[in-house]
């Protein structure tokens, strides 16, 4: 192991739908577009598969930021999944804001399979944002912290 640095490396969980955003991430990779290694991608069948528990569970297990990526509205592989996801996430994010979790820690972005550039840009931006917010101390299970 290298010499310990005290620099904060955020843990980011990105839920990506299989049909667009995951492919977008793939494209970013094969186009050699860089995005920080702090982003851990979890592939889901559709953005609509993500229920509020997924987001909270990610925070519980130590994530500092959670982002959900799906097909652009109108392009969902299952036609309307992302429309439902959009309402759900709006309400959930608003609730998290209401209980005092900084609202920059959650985000939704629509990324198509052709948008490798957008994917890498979004992730860079998001990591930077979380970096500025610092460690997530308001949510998270103490037992999961090392």
């Amino acid at each position: 192991m290298s010499i310990e640095t005290n620099e904060f490396r955020p843990k980011i969980v990105a839920f990506c739908c299989n049909w667009c955003s995951y492919a977008g991430a793939d494209l970013a990779g094969s186009s050699r577009l860089a995005y920080p290694a702090d982003v851990k991608i979890i592939r889901v069948p559709c953005s609509c598969r993500v229920n509020p528990m997924f987001i909270l569970r990610a925070f519980e297990k130590g994530a500092d930021g959670v982002i959900l990526c799906g097909c652009h509205p109108g392009d969902c592989h299952y036609t309307t999944g992302n429309y439902y996801a959009r309402r759900r996430m709006t309400l959930l994010f608003s609730m998290l804001d209401y209980i005092g979790v900084e609202n920059g820690r959650t985000r939704v972005e629509w990324v198509s399979a052709a948008e490798g550039v957008k994917f890498s840009q979004t992730m860079n931006e998001f990591v930077e944002k979380i970096h500025s917010l610092g460690k997530n101390v308001r949510l998270g299970d103490l037992r999961c912290k090392n």
């Binding site: 528990m53 909270l56 439902y84 759900r88 709006t90 309400l91 609730m95 005092g100 985000r107």
Partner: protein, 324 residues
């Protein structure tokens, strides 16, 4: 109340209904409990007064599976829940004979106790036929009294109105009790800084003992298998005590009823710790109203709920940050 009992007797004796679902006196003068009455003579125990806060609509889920019709007494706010249950195919409309009962506001004995009224032996002024202006208590320390409104449940101060949304007949008078705005507290919290919000909820929620009463009483929480009973869910038991789990429980519980919660107020009424669960429910309701258009769950049994619906031009989740 006598009118209600007479009607129940009639319906039972004619065989039109097989049972009556109402309230019977509890072991204290202020805690009547939900009860079934199958024989006309049992109705001597029937009560309906200011302490009958319990919403009987959820009991109709089980009663719908029984032989014959059930006469069920529903207060105005309970009828919203019943409509919602019809919409969710939880109850059978044809198995219910709904008597819409009048309501002059229901009482919270804890509020009276906070006013220093303790050692209560009997209460008067809370009967349906009373004016419901003043409550008089006989206590072991002598006679005490308080204004009816000062001992009313929070939900009755923000009552949705005294019209029954669904009924077969209506018995008893109602009285307007609304004297507060239902989103006032939510707005107050919204105006706090993130740190203040966090501290506020930390304090409120750390009281939770995870007894699940709020879930069990909720007419919208009628899943046969509940996520909170899963052994994989960390907050299934209180033993895993962590501040996060309370938050997770409360955010998820309220989310599961978002768009379906009629704001009947049962969860806040039954919480033994006095946690104001409506602060969560109403936040979702307020957001839904603001972002997707006014919606009152249970106002009818048909309208599509806001979370099982969408429009192409719904706002993006980023609105949360944008509107500040």
């Amino acid at each position: 109340m006598q009118e209600l009992i007479n009607r129940a007797k009639e319906l039972l004796e004619s065989g039109e209904v097989a049972r009556v679902l109402g309230w019977k006196a509890g072991d204290l003068p202020y805690n009547p409990e939900p009860a079934y009455f199958e024989k006309a003579e049992d109705l001597k125990d029937f009560v309906y007064n200011g302490f009958c806060g319990a919403n009987l609509s959820k009991y109709m889920i089980e009663a719908s599976k029984l032989e014959g019709k059930t006469m069920v007494c529903l207060k105005p706010c309970d009828t919203y829940s019943f409509n919602q249950l019809i919409k969710e195919h939880r109850v059978d409309r044809d198995k219910a004979y709904i008597v819409g009962v009048g309501c002059k506001g229901k009482l919270d004995i804890e509020k009276a106790k906070k006013l220093g009224i303790k050692g209560i032996e009997s209460v008067s002024g809370a009967e349906m036929s009373d004016a419901c202006d003043t409550l008089t208590f006989q206590t072991i320390y002598g006679e005490k009294s308080c204004a009816y409104a000062d001992a009313m449940l929070e939900r009755c101060h923000v009552c949705k109105g005294k019209d029954h949304m669904i009924y077969d007949e209506i018995i008893g008078e109602s009285r307007d009790t609304k004297d507060a705005e239902r989103f006032a507290e939510v707005e107050m919290i919204e105006a706090m800084s993130p740190a203040e919000k966090f501290a506020f909820f930390q304090e409120e929620l750390s009281k939770c003992i995870r007894c699940n009463a709020c879930r069990n009483v909720c007419p919208a929480c009628s899943c046969r298998k509940c996520v909170f009973d899963s052994t994989k869910f960390d907050s299934a038991q209180k033993a895993n005590v962590d501040s996060f789990e309370e938050k997770m429980f409360h955010v998820i519980r309220a989310f599961h009823v978002a768009g379906r919660c009629t704001d009947c107020g049962e969860c806040s009424r039954v919480c033994p710790q006095g946690i104001r669960l409506h602060l969560f429910n109403r936040k979702y309701i307020k957001d839904i109203n603001e972002l997707y258009g006014e919606f009152q769950a249970g106002a009818d049994a048909e309208a599509r709920g806001p979370l099982t619906n969408f429009t192409f031009d719904d706002c993006e989740p980023s609105i949360v940050a944008e509107r500040g």
